[in-house]
Symmetry: C2
Subunit: 342 residues, 2 copies
């Protein structure tokens, strides 16, 4: 196994997490170049990193370029992915701009690493709420075919960037101190509130976040017949860790116990579903934050339909939902010998 | 219309709200006796009230006894309802103890006021999360018959009493100040977290809060064929206002626009579903708190099934979910001439 020149583009909540994850997982990086709009120095896990301004030349000799992406606005990959690819890098983009393009693999390595084999230099990382959903669905789909998914989400503010985390803390302090609550990242107060909108609405009334769950789930599972209905993707006053309440209809009956067995054998999944163990009765976002696992709990059969299951999924949106998955894609590229300068 | 001697039993979050609502709605009370475990003086809406210790004799000459109820433990109605009824009072109980008893009407006046007609002295108020759900379902059920409901909730801490509201504020301050977070009302930290459990679990893994949605919805709508699947009833760090993400399958196709028309004509419902109006794009718990309305937004047809709708419901759990509904039951008893000492 060689050693690789890495670029991380963007150092908001996700970019910083990428640096942490590269370090934690001992990814074989011979150099890490950090690129952003504004040159500066940052400290992550007690290491100092120099941040350079991004331009096309920044990608000279880079083997893997991890774009942190942004929610909502167009990511840096729109401007710089081509420059990076033309210089021999493989781009892994956490932004939403290229995910649905047919020539771009959209990958969660535990689920569809093989989709990497025909990459053309650009690989997309899924949306945070999709990553944890497909991890939970994959073993069920393989065993009993998923026909229908009805899902509502409870999403952390860090999905909207680090400014959103600061905004929530500031608002909590304002409420506590009786001073005026100010909102700028969110359209209205998120402290002590739930906002049932993430992203813009389409003509049918679905938000962009909701439709990502529909399209990305099908693409990653490689099955366009799966009917995903996102009821509401909502923002809750939580810093990190997205939760999802999921109803799944299968082609074959599956008991809750059978589903748990399947999950227990699946990489990256931890089942917390023991109502007798107060520490592992079910996962919460606070407990999932900082971990790379996808946690599943509250597993039951539907009350009426033995072909349907309901459960609760929680995962760290900045890690498995973004940074960790991107670094795992890089690891899979190394393992499968798919880098362009191997 | 006469004037009535009222007793309010319990002065936690719901009991205090009952006093406010009686006052706000000018309910014709000739006297209000406030009963609780511990005698004391309280101030509600700038009025001072004397709280007396509850015993059987407290209900002498009381026409209407409103029991505030408690979540979890047995309510005071278990001990005192019989004493009140035998003295000629009609008991309206917000607790869960009698709701499913066949000889006890379970009433949301906009939905099933007629169920009051055969009362035997004891009337039950539904659970907070059920009240807003049946308000939303009723006009759909009348127009197109509801076959299936799949629902997840985002519930405010005040549903667990005023100590829970204090606990959330204290925990937010601890997080902000970097001091130890203490939990006593909830099993774990609720600040910056989501807890996917409300009430104990049954053998199938459903919580008592979830099963209330199943049984109470059927009883109030008077149709045991309605299949309600509660995916997850979760507690979120919100003080007041429960939210629900709802998927409904109907016997006849109904467009989102038709559903909105039905709701616009239904008492107690406000539709906020205009994505072009930033003030009324959709309801949030902060906006619903303090109001008696049930707010509905994010109304769409399912992506695949014209017989299915998805939407978002928000209502003040202490008001329409508890105190307001109880006082509306009292108003309906007066109107329908159903008090025992009319």
């Amino acid at each position: 196994m060689g050693s690789y020149n890495i670029a991380v583009v963007g150092v908001g909540a996700v970019g910083e997490e990428m640096l942490k994850v590269i370090d934690e997982r001992n990814f074989p990086a011979s150099s890490i170049r950090i690129l952003a709009r504004t040159p500066r120095t940052i400290v992550v896990r007690n290491k100092e990193y120099l941040v350079e301004a991004t331009d096309a030349e920044s990608f000279n000799n880079v083997d893997i370029a991890l774009f942190a992406g942004t929610e909502g606005e167009k990511g840096a990959a729109v401007r710089f992915a081509e420059a990076a690819i033309s210089r021999g890098a493989v781009v892994i983009d956490n932004g939403a701009d290229f995910r649905m393009r047919q020539d771009v693999p959209l990958v969660v390595p535990e689920v569809n690493a093989a989709a990497l084999d025909n990459h053309r230099g650009l690989i997309a990382n899924p949306n945070c709420s999709t990553a944890q959903l497909v991890i939970a669905l994959k073993p069920l789909h393989d065993a009993a075919r998923v026909k229908r998914v009805i899902v509502s989400t409870y999403q952390a503010v860090s999905g909207a960037g680090s400014a959103a985390v600061t905004e929530l803390a500031d608002q909590n302090n304002s409420v506590s101190g009786g001073t005026e609550v100010k909102s700028s990242v969110f359209s209205q107060q998120i402290a002590y509130n739930v906002i049932p909108q993430i992203g813009g609405f389409d003509d049918a009334g679905y938000s962009s976040e909701e439709m990502k769950l529909v399209h990305e789930t099908r693409k990653i599972l490689g099955d366009d017949s799966i009917l995903v209905t996102p009821v509401v993707a909502a923002r809750v006053p939580v810093n990190t860790g997205h939760s999802e309440a999921v109803y799944v209809e299968l082609e074959k009956p599956l008991t809750a116990a059978q589903a748990i067995e399947l999950w227990n054998e699946f990489p990256g999944v931890s089942v917390w579903n023991d109502s007798l163990d107060p520490k592992r009765a079910y996962p919460t976002p606070l407990e999932a934050a900082g971990s790379d696992e996808t946690y599943i709990g509250r597993v039951r059969n539907d009350l009426y339909n033995p072909y349907a299951l309901v459960f609760w999924i929680v995962s760290d949106n900045l890690r498995k939902g973004a940074a960790t998955n991107a670094v795992q894609i890089a690891e899979a590229l190394v393992e499968r010998n798919l880098l362009r300068r191997n």
